[in-house]
Symmetry: C2
Amino acid sequence: MDFSSKLLENAVNEVSRLPGIGKRTALRLVLHLLKQPTEHTKYLTEALSVLRNEVKSCKKCHNISDTILCEICANPNRHTEVVCVVEDIRDVMAIENTAQFKGLYHVLGGKISPIEGIGPQNLQIESLVEKVRNGEVKELIFALSSTMEGDTTNFYIYKQIEKYNITTSTIARGISVGDELEYADEVTLGRSIVNRIPFENSLKA
Amino acid sequence: MDFSSKLLENAVNEVSRLPGIGKRTALRLVLHLLKQPTEHTKYLTEALSVLRNEVKSCKKCHNISDTILCEICANPNRHTEVVCVVEDIRDVMAIENTAQFKGLYHVLGGKISPIEGIGPQNLQIESLVEKVRNGEVKELIFALSSTMEGDTTNFYIYKQIEKYNITTSTIARGISVGDELEYADEVTLGRSIVNRIPFENSLKA
């Protein structure tokens, strides 16, 4: 693309470095900002700068937080001995939305992925093992995505903590509520038969 | 969405005000920035702020420019008497890419659209009529989108300038190069028959 303005070109290049945003979309977004009042751009850039410079991660669960201890970890009504292992804040938000979990979280910050160069040392795994070693955790629930990377990460952590003899579980894999059986993939369907649950349990929640 | 951080919530809200970006996409973009080095956010926000505060519009064609007169208007090799009327900078870039036009542009900054509350007074129409009145323009080429708004804008401008007796034309509507005839819509196909061109012309460009 040939730009008539270096400033415009620079802004488009920076915006197009964001994931899933190409040059054309970036140009559309930037031109939109130019048509809006100056304050719009000011609020946007300030919100991003302040977030990037001031946001903290909770010292206990490593979730994104404005305070040293996040709201969930600081809540005295949560069961501190049940810890749900998740990848990032979006998973915390998704599980919180279900209102089915009253324990604490441990945010890894990603999954082990050799292709992307993410190893165990890049994730908050050591601090999780430390919690288990200290006896702070009685039950660990793995709630990572059901992918190769998620399974690898689960297994890696499991191997580190199995000697401490705590309860470990993983969220159920099975047919989504509302799904037609005929469209389910065979691995999911197979697992959902192997790990079938007592019928009366399916009446809850 | 329930956010664990006000700073995060604020940033997501600001990003999701951009067109075509919802809350989930905004969250994904913001979390991406948090995973990147701080400089990434700094460069992005600076590029946007500088652009918004310092970019100018060319005093002659109203295109986005870093200087008072844009590169195209300042180029002595362009034919100053042929002016192509376009909606915004993207159209200028698209036409410049064809390398088929050697005249100048006039950027309206939008199209007349009562639904969006954009009337003639919100666009750079008066300055275009002024150029025609002064005798600066010998030929005007309308290159707006072939939509209701584009046609309305063309017609409005045409009515303002028809008394000055200059050559006016609109870019050809017809079958796209490479298109199968059977998939062309009937209006386009009909117009392409009415406005057929001498065969030897089709061999050029």
